[in-house]
């Protein structure tokens, strides 16, 4: 699609998709009789993970009804925290005429099989639609969080900021405020191919449930993130994922080593995907979806039952500060030299 046509399409959609329409629809269909969330006992924190497959939406109401359906299903289980999958923020791209197929192609095709031209078109699309995409994402999930009186980790979205592209996850409070953002720190795969800039810090969010961290997609490969979040007292880690982000079992290794509860929410993008929505504890699987289609899995988690972290496994502190930590710096310098050479 030529750039001019893309610009026109985004402009037209921005007229038909407005914050007022989003809020009005959700308020009409998404009211909840739940009491406001004032406190959650650490032994009785309820979490839910959404799994869903991307599909082209017929219009704004189709998109909103699906997000509302999953949020309500999770809230009906009593969930205080609801996690949506990776790339949830991109799904409204299918509202732009002619863009639904491109979105599904990019999400469902392995990166090594994607033609460079397709990636370029997708990159242009994300840049062109950034305004209305972010607006839909923000208003949809802030309203859902407010109406359903729950924390919502709204998956992830690509955000342009100061001429840089970030892969970002937002956490919304039951007041409807976006209280925390976490950028993907080690972009690989699609994010790297689109030129995503790595995030700058790993911080958990302060919530009524305790400290909640967010690890996006393939960042799960990096034990460092879980270690940092655990040292910052995060006991719950929301993990928006996409299809088979990492080998089965690696998440359990992270849950054990952290230790923390992992709320895994996958976007089901391939026919033979293995990942399911699940809530993982250091002791095992607390809850998991069995079927491979859109569903919610929920579980009560007991933060008091988290084991104490193993105190560094007795590793010599001199090694940590004189060999381990400098190894990152030395590696970065060597890589820069090789790239410059």
């Amino acid at each position: 699609m030529p750039q001019f046509a893309l610009d026109c399409s985004a402009f037209l959609v921005s007229f038909s998709v407005t914050p007022k329409k989003i809020v009005r629809y959700l308020e009409k269909h998404g009211q909840s009789s739940r009491p406001p969330l004032k406190f959650a006992a650490p032994e009785n924190v309820r979490t839910a993970a959404v799994q869903m497959a991307p599909r082209p939406y017929r219009g704004l109401e189709d998109y909103l009804s699906e997000m509302l359906y999953f949020t309500k299903s999770a809230a009906d289980t009593g969930a205080h925290l609801i996690v949506f999958p990776q790339y949830t923020g991109l799904l409204p791209l299918s509202l732009m005429p002619g863009c639904g197929k491109l979105l599904l192609d990019v999400l469902q095709t392995p990166l090594e099989d994607l033609p460079a031209s397709t990636l370029e078109r997708f990159s242009n699309l994300v840049r062109t639609a950034q305004g209305f995409l972010y607006e839909i994402h923000l208003y949809t999930f802030s309203t859902l969080a407010l109406l359903q009186k729950a924390y919502i980790c709204a998956g992830s979205i690509f955000v342009w900021e100061d001429q840089q592209l970030y892969h970002r996850s937002l956490l919304f409070s039951p007041d409807g405020e976006a209280i925390h953002t976490q950028d993907q720190l080690c972009p690989t795969g699609l994010a790297a191919a689109l030129g995503v800039t790595p995030g700058q810090s790993a911080q958990p969010a302060d919530t009524l449930l305790g400290k909640v961290g967010i690890v996006i997609g393939a960042d799960a490969y990096y034990f460092e993130l879980f270690h940092i979040l655990q040292k910052k007292s995060a006991q719950i880690i929301a993990m928006p994922l996409c299809a088979d982000t990492f080998p089965a079992g690696l998440d359990f290794c992270r849950a054990r080593q952290s230790p923390a509860y992992l709320i895994e929410s996958p976007l089901l993008t391939t026919k033979y995907h293995r990942l399911r929505a699940q809530i993982l504890s250091p002791m095992g699987v607390s809850a998991a979806c069995e079927q491979p289609e859109g569903a919610v899995c929920a579980s009560r988690i007991d933060l008091c039952k988290l084991p104490l972290p193993a105190a560094g496994w007795g590793t010599d502190p001199t090694f940590l500060f004189s060999d381990y930590l400098p190894a990152y710096r030395i590696y970065a310098q060597q890589t820069q030299k090789e790239q410059a050479g």
Partner: protein, 234 residues
């Protein structure tokens, strides 16, 4: 690079002619007596020289340090690695090491992972950042504790997180873990210890291909991790 043929044998048996690395069958308990250590190391040296193979020693105590040593095909020790994490049974009796030593071998860069070091990913990350493509781990862990779950948490976790081969040798047997895409079943196990296979082949060219498709080290955000060094160092 030529594929590496690894065999697990008692020191009384000769390796195959194409073997490049030998691990000693049953050598997973600690040799503490100084005279026994001396005899063990001499035996390893002479075996390596006689059959022109690289040979991994058993765990031994030397100068109050828990060590592993890799001998080269010339019978000389390439280097030794001192345990960085003091195992519980030896607490107060040994001095932990302070750096990871990466060995240059005919089959690439190797890290010798001594006993409990396999449990701390920071140790393995250091080895990976220094260029290791193969980790040789020997543990004197009790058989009752050496469960499949323990293997997943240690050797398998290391192979997936650091994107390299891990040979894990303990009393329960020998397992070989690798990045999941290297295996047909995508499960990250090249050899499971239940199979009691005494010979296997490591293909480093395939490892390089997988690393190119999934460049975990290249995507490492060193800036952020150094920013959080207080947390990572605890």
């Amino acid at each position: 690079m030529e594929p590496l043929v690894v065999e697990i044998l008692p020191l009384t048996r000769a390796p195959s002619s194409d073997a490049g690395l030998v691990l000693i069958e049953g050598a997973t308990s600690l040799i503490a007596d100084p005279e026994a250590v001396r005899r063990h190391l001499l035996t390893c040296a002479s075996y390596a020289k006689k059959y022109t193979v690289c040979l991994l020693s058993g765990l031994f105590l030397l100068e109050d340090a828990l060590c592993l040593c890799l001998f080269g095909p010339d019978g000389l020790p390439i280097d030794r690695q001192v345990a960085l994490c003091e195992p519980m049974p030896l607490q107060g009796r040994t001095q932990p090491g302070q750096e990871t030593t990466i060995l240059d071998t005919p089959f690439g860069r190797v890290f010798l992972c001594v006993d409990e070091d396999i449990r701390d990913q920071r140790v393995l990350r250091t080895a990976a950042l220094k260029g290791a493509g193969l980790v040789l781990s020997v543990r004197m862990i009790d058989v009752a504790e050496d469960t499949v779950e323990e293997l997943y948490q240690t050797a398998w976790n290391t192979a997936q997180t650091q994107n390299l081969y891990v040979i894990s040798h303990s009393a329960a047997g020998c397992s070989v873990c690798c990045p999941a895409p290297l295996t047909r079943a995508q499960d990250g196990f090249l050899v499971r210890r239940e199979t009691n296979i005494g010979r296997f082949i490591l293909n480093f060219d395939r490892l390089d291909e997988v690393r190119q498709q999934l460049p975990l080290l290249d995507a490492l955000n060193t800036e952020v991790f150094l920013h959080h060094q207080n947390e990572l160092g605890r």
